[in-house]
């Protein structure tokens, strides 16, 4: 079970969180013309990386905040975590 550092609450076990997928996906702006390809990339296409991955988790049984977690998908090592509005450098 992963041990995730919630930027709001501190170290908490994985069973307090729910997974939210790739954090690098950006929703196209509202009312903007979007090509089929762009939309498919947003809704369906994911890289399914092996290695360092920035992903979303929600601290669903805690502060209910969505957070960003930088995690290695192969080793499960967690490098850094960010608040929803924090820019990831």
């Amino acid at each position: 079970m992963l041990y995730i550092n919630c930027p709001h609450c501190g170290m908490r076990s994985q069973n307090e969180f729910s997974y939210g997928g790739d954090a690098s996906v950006k929703r196209p702006e509202l009312n903007k013309e979007v090509s089929d390809q762009e939309w498919d990339n947003f809704v369906y296409n994911r890289k399914s990386l092996r290695g360092k991955h920035l992903e979303l988790w929600q601290h669903i049984s805690g502060c209910r905040q969505w957070i960003k977690v930088e995690r290695d998908t192969a080793t499960h090592e967690i490098f850094r975590t960010f608040k929803a509005d924090e820019e990831v450098a």
């Binding site: 079970m1 939309w39 979303l56 929600q58 499960h76 929803a84 509005d85």
Partner: protein, 998 residues
Amino acid sequence: MTQAFRIENSGLINRDKKLSFKFNGKTYFGYEGDTLASALLANGVHLVGRSFKYHRPRGFFGAGVDEPYAVVQLYRNGETEPNIKATEQELFEGLEAKSVNCWPSVNFDIGAINNFLRIFLPAGFYYKTFMWPKSFWYQIYEPFIRKAAGLGVASIKHDKERYEHKYEYCDLLIAGSGPSGLASAYAAAKNGAKVILAEDKPRFGGSLLSSDVNIGNQSGKDWAEGIIAELKTMPNVVVKNRSQIFGYYDHNMLVMSEKVSDHLPTTKKYHPNKRLWYIRAKEVLISSGSIERPIVFGNNDTPGVMLSSAAKEYLKVYGVLVGRKPLVFTNNDSGYETAIEFKKHGVDPVVLDSRKNPESEIIDEAKNLGINIKNSYVVVAAQGYKKVKSADIASISEDKKQLGKIEYIQCDCICVSGFWTPTIHLASQSGNKTKFKEEIDAFVPGQSKQNEITLGAANGIFSLEETLKTSFTAGSELSKKITENDNKIAIPNVVEKKSSQHDKFWCVPLPKGKNYKRFLDFQNDVAVSDIEIALREGYRSIEHVKRYTTLGMATDQGKTSNLNGLQLVSEIENKVVPAVGHTTFRPPYTPVSIGAIVGREVGKHSKPTRKSPMHSWHEKNNAVFVDAGVWLRPRYYKRGNENLFEASKREAKNVRTNVGVCDVTTLGKIDIKGPDAAELLNRVYTNAWLKLPVGKARYGLMLREDGIVMDDGTTTRISENHYHMTTTTAQAANVLSHLEYYLQLVWPELNVNVVSTTEQWAGAAIAGPKSRDLLQKLFPNSDVSNEGLPFMGYMEQDLFGAKARIFRISFSGELAYEVNVESDYGNFMWEKIMEVGEEFNIQPYGTEALSTLRIEMGHVAGSELDGRTIPFDNALEGLVSKKKDFIGKRSLERSAFIAEDRQRIVGVVPLDKQTSIPEGSHLVKDDKAPLPNPKLGHISASCWSVEYDNPFSLAILKDGKNMIGQKLFAMSPLKNKVIPVEIVSSHYVDPKGERVRS
């Protein structure tokens, strides 16, 4: 029976407490502190089971967790449990156990014929033989194999025992209480670190209990007892015996199974049987020790052949002689330690040492005691069927290829030592890259991945002095990092006998003309010849060889066999062992009871149960409940001998003719506040929300980004910047997360807050033509007329002193209202509604009647919004705005979603107007068409229309829009039904929706 093999002046058992127990129906006696294995051996019982494949007689091989043979079926406290190792099961008064894998008895086992057929049962036998014909597998092969194989039977009764889970956090978790575990725990504890020390056996001390060493001028055992006694007094330390750490998971989470009650005849009141600990440790110290490995020789599975360390443990810990004429076969000094113990207790052993001329303090001691030692000698084969009677022995050449003349020697047990294998399972599970250590012919932990360190024998360090030194240091250094305390501890002086280099020798060659079975894996009956076959047939990867031969795949997971298997593969393949590599170590290290894994989450405890504030009223009024997600909802209220069908029909009919009341507390409720609340709703819902006036409700539909309907419900504008959203019962949690996702991540610029208020409001739906009359009486001072409170209107009123919210919304399709009060007043509200409604013939109605009402009105619910449908499919495309953008809109342009013959909701009526159509039935054009019969749609929901008094169903049907009036067949192979049906409009009752507006 007397305990003929029990000796005086040895052992840690309590001789004052004699215990009786039964094995295979026969009564024996043992002592408190015995294991089932030691007690049986004390009584001279060596035959405990039959092997898995050949049904060869099986005895005891080890004295603990490594035991491959002595697996029994245990009977305790009216329950039975399979797969119990007799070497681990502590004796208690009245214990009962039976042999497994033998029929009719362990002494006469019909399956033993396999032993004579064994040339037909080589590796891969199952794969090769049971392939054809295909149909034979289920009917003949599998049932036969299931009966013939297996290690006991699982109980089919409900388990009465309780199991608990516990979460714990600590600074240092120490696995194993041998010398390294004790030393590191002590040093860390003295630095004030929070320490958990776990020991799988009942007694702490590990190898110190049976070795002849001195620490700080005391015996090793006394030193261990002193340390444990002190640790137990320290508030920052938890010491746990009977507790096996069996799994090492991500981020230093380890799981431990504590046997709380297995050593007692019955579980104490309020105690669990087992407790599963989830431990998050800052540092993990693996002090799991090592397991002696066997030397492979002919018939090495005969009862009476056992590990020399086990023989020593039976003698030193249990006061039991495993034989009176022992033969010790060794390639290192450990065998001598066992021989010395035998000699000290009046038994004359013979030692065969594969080495030519070894010299050490231990060997000198053996020589001084006058022990008969034969150098460059090996056991070629054990003789005897159910027990060792003699051994064929021979001298062996220095290159270990040539055997001398076979000699015979009488013996009643063969104690074998092929040196030691570090127990690296936990380290490997954590992701440690193990490495091969030439000097000890075994793998040891290498580069750590997590915060873990391996100490002592588990790390390939077999000198006690070095073990203690490194373990004290590790415990104190690691704890210092955490607590910043640095209490120096004097490392005690150690007296131990130095040993000499072991012989790199692990398998005795076959003598000419003999074809003895030489077993590697004793539990799965994998012999040297099986590995040879696998390699001959082209298997190369050790993972493939393992699976083809089943080497190391039994319940003991190859604790005594893996390394010898690797040696064999590397020898045949002419590779070094590290090039062959070892198979992956996976948790659990040793079998874990399913009950312990499940814990308390059984039956009603497997999920939470949520009840509405009116639950007790429903109970008192004969409600029959149904699980709706985690909620318990009244399905119907039983009157007299009514069944579900009759009751729900009565309730639904009463709504259509009078008035009914339904508990709708379970609907998800989300409070939405903020200046941008309307904008959020406008983006989340498919329809327009910017112009909803205060005091009005609106039905809304929300999609996922992929265009699929996510949920529906009404949202009401309570005040300028305050909305009350309702969701379906099932989607409440998902919708909240969905809103939070967009507010926090996608549109953080929106100034809106959302919070769940599901539990804060109790809800009652009042529905039926007389509902307005009832409402007027409930709120006598309010104008609830069609003008005062129109359809989709909202008002806040006082319900006999309780603040109430009234929504004019309808799910039943009748004139209807929903009244919400704060949860604490829920029951008060309900009772008032029933009391005041009496004159209007009010009846409560449950979910079944609710379904009937919504189905015949063609209102969609979870069975249509099933994660596969878009608004059009549900005839809700009118709610999809063309003017504004919203979540999922772009997906609705997908070609499949705009196809001409897109599926759509329809009504379905059986032609005979009698036969109810099972939900899930497929709609087909031709009921006689060959399979696969093209499916046009499926029945999503069925009811008995109270309006027309005939069955009615909803279906999602291909090209549904153009199918009205068509005749099709509803087929349910599950219910074996074929029903001719007619497709009608989904709005079966009141298609214009006049009633809700009346």
